[in-house]
Amino acid sequence: MSGTPVSSGLSRRSLLAGLASAPVMTSILGGPAGAQAPVAGGAFTIPVISNPALWPLIGGVQNVMVNRVLFNSLTSYDDPNQKVVGDLAEKWSVSEDGLTWTFSLYPNVTWHDGKPFTADDVVFTITKIWLNPKISFPQRSNFATLTGAEKVDERTVKLVTNVPTPALPVMLGYLAPILPAHVFSSWSNEDFTRPTAFTKSPVGTGPFKFGEFTPGSSVRLVRNDAYFRGKPLLDALVFKIMPDVEQQFAQLQSGQLDWMIIEPYQIDALKGNARIKVNDVKSNMYFYVGLNDAMPPFDDKRVRQALSYAVDRQAIIDGALAGRADIAASPITPVLADFHNDKVESYAIDLKKAGDLLDQAGWKVGAGGIRAKDGKPLKITLDVDAGNTTREQIALIVQDNWKKIGVDTTIKTGDFGAFVQRMRAKPSDLQAFICWWITAPDPDIISYYGTDKTLNIFAYSNPAVDKLLDEGRKTIDLAQRAKLYKDAQVLIAQDAPCVFLYYAREIESVSANLRGWSPTLGYRYALGQAEKIWKAK
């Protein structure tokens, strides 16, 4: 499934950018929209951490941002709550057995090179790229149940799955852009590993088309006058390449940037700056202290519950996040309003209970206030990726919290890449670690919590949960499906596979004269509606 801790696992800095990623403010800027008639012209300038690849078949925040504007997918997400809407697909329906999906495509869509977009492009992208194991496609696991696509007519495609897959429309909008068949049809599998002919001048269907790439400086996308949703208002979208976040912040303050994801600690510095507004965007992302459920002492549920009871989430939110987050108790965020269950065990801070649970588990307070069992002290190594102030702060708070119940925690920071590798290793040598998931707006979490699934980095296993999640991913009926996931959340919360910390918001700072930019959608998807953006005088 789709989930990425920060969609690009690149470096600590891109992490930063990733973490922060989502814009928001629904047109907050515009106030009551319509107060002013849109003004055409101008450029929207936003930072990316390093040279982006104008190649939609790889992850990485900087790539995702640029490619979101250049390309369209079959579906996309919109307010409220990231609901699925059509992008290239105007509407769709699913057959009675839940196995065949029919998508009708918008007419009058053209590629940036002038060729018409048709059902052939969709069929080509799915069958020749997504379903072709010889070509690398990071989101392939999102389409594990998809078996084929066929053209019905120029504007209709049929997608076939081997089991009912209610998440399909959502997944089709998640980093799954449709590519031009007429450009790629002559490409061999090997050509896709050396796509320079395409990356030098990419051809998409998006609201802005490729203008100029000046390595190290910027990528300039220019207005696509033929865009099927209408001519974009801005002349250009400029992605400035800026590896240093403090430099980004300086340019934001001086008005050279129109938008940036900031860290909570930076908010104070923007007070009194009339040029900039700050929005926080609820995103489908949650942070946690991962625990290795297969390793003692975490294989004892009581220990995990005790660790959960001891963490002061409100202190984390107030202290490290400037109050801009919500306490988390389950792995399905409130953004998925139909599926989120807010009636689960929430482990409100209770040191007494935490202590009792540890006592029951055999961990008695010993020398120096540190608990021990069979002569072994309760020592935990808490890993966190290096370089992100907010997460380092959280680690310090957790360490402090755990100390109060007699747990001796050592914080270890390290390179994010190495961290991801250790996380994915089976079995993993990690004990406890601070990380997060950000996923497509669908409740299917079986990859993360199903026994032995690829992204189950907690090594969590509960057959009852497996069963619910497996049912859930196959149940088309919304009410039934919601019930399954709500039940699963109750069980997961009871098991405390990890310490759920908070549902994150992405804090974006936006120039005050920006209009047409949703303040609640998040930049990943707001950029897909770039044709609506304009700047007031």
């Binding site: 800095r13 976040v245 680690a395 310090l396 402090d400 914080i411 920071t413 390179d415």
Partner: protein, 294 residues
């Protein structure tokens, strides 16, 4: 990026009577150098005594006391996690100085080996080793440092090794010069005739002759290494939190330059001062040892 990369400490052939004591007199008369020596000694003592001198544990978080200005309770204020800056500064000194000193010790060892080998074994070996030494000085070595740390991980050991491996060249030249000068000296001949191996001669007879020049080079090198660690920290490749080095304190504090400028000023000034003192001390030592004077 480096001072020491091109700093050489040429010494004249030692002449006559007790050059040591004359050097000491000259050094004593150099007020700046003496001041640098005293202050550096104090900084080192403070670092060693950090556990005693620090008012708080360096990682004691107190979120209610974040970003406090200096007060009686916190003489240098607190950082973004409410940790006492004075305590962190003292503990940071331990790591920063340890990185500087360990890297330089390693560099001196490497330099002595290379320089010694080059001096003792003439011909091809000498010529190859000296080409390597020159070569190290003529490639953009910082890129290799970044790459190594990014790929292999910025652990304390790796940082020390990487800085050491890139700063032994001046020591190698000094030692080689000293070996060449002393090779034919009677005491070396004597040692050799008694069956001493080249390592013995190198470490027991030749190196002691080179100490003055090596110390000058090492003093400058420590400052350089501290500066280097801070540059690496800025790029995220220095000492990793929660350990505090001056470099990572400074690098982190950049984010708070807007609302808590003191946070960046304190470690920045500590680095600046220590490097400055190392350079002054190094210069003073050189002047004292080489009165003719460059």
């Amino acid at each position: 990026m480096s001072a020491s990369a091109i700093e050489e400490a040429p010494l004249p052939p030692s002449s006559g009577r007790s050059p040591g004591s004359r050097a000491w007199v000259r050094f004593r008369n150099n007020r700046i150098a003496v001041l640098a020596l005293v202050l550096l000694a104090l900084i080192n003592i403070a670092a060693v005594l950090a556990p005693v001198l620090s008012p708080y544990p360096p990682n004691a978080v107190s979120l209610r006391e974040r970003l406090q200005p200096p007060s009686v309770k916190h003489p240098l204020g607190t950082d973004e996690n409410g940790r006492d800056m004075l305590s962190r500064l003292l503990y940071g000194a331990r790591i920063s100085l340890a990185v500087g000193i360990a890297a330089v010790v390693f560099a001196v060892f490497l330099g002595a080996l290379v320089g010694g080998a080059a001096g003792f074994v003439e011909g091809m070996t000498d010529s190859v080793l000296m080409r390597v030494t020159d070569g190290m000085l003529s490639v953009p070595i910082f890129f290799f440092m970044i790459t190594t740390l990014a790929l292999f991980g910025a652990t304390l050991t790796n940082i020390i090794l990487v800085i050491g491996v890139t700063s032994w060249m001046s020591v190698a030249r000094i030692v080689r010069g000293e070996v060449l000068r002393n090779r034919e000296m009677p005491f070396v001949e004597a040692a050799r005739s008694l069956g001493a191996g080249p390592f013995h001669i190198l470490f027991r007879h030749v190196l002691p002759q080179s100490w003055p020049a090596i110390i000058v080079s090492a003093t400058l090198g420590i400052g350089w290494a501290i500066l280097m660690e801070s540059s690496l920290s800025f790029l995220g490749l220095g000492v990793q939190p929660p350990d505090s080095s001056w470099g990572n304190m400074l690098s982190k504090a950049r984010g708070y330059m807007w609302n808590a400028p003191l946070l960046a000023f304190i470690p920045g000034f500590a680095i600046f001062l220590t490097v400055l003192l190392c350079n002054w001390l190094g210069d003073g030592l050189r002047d004292a040892l080489d009165p003719t004077g460059t």
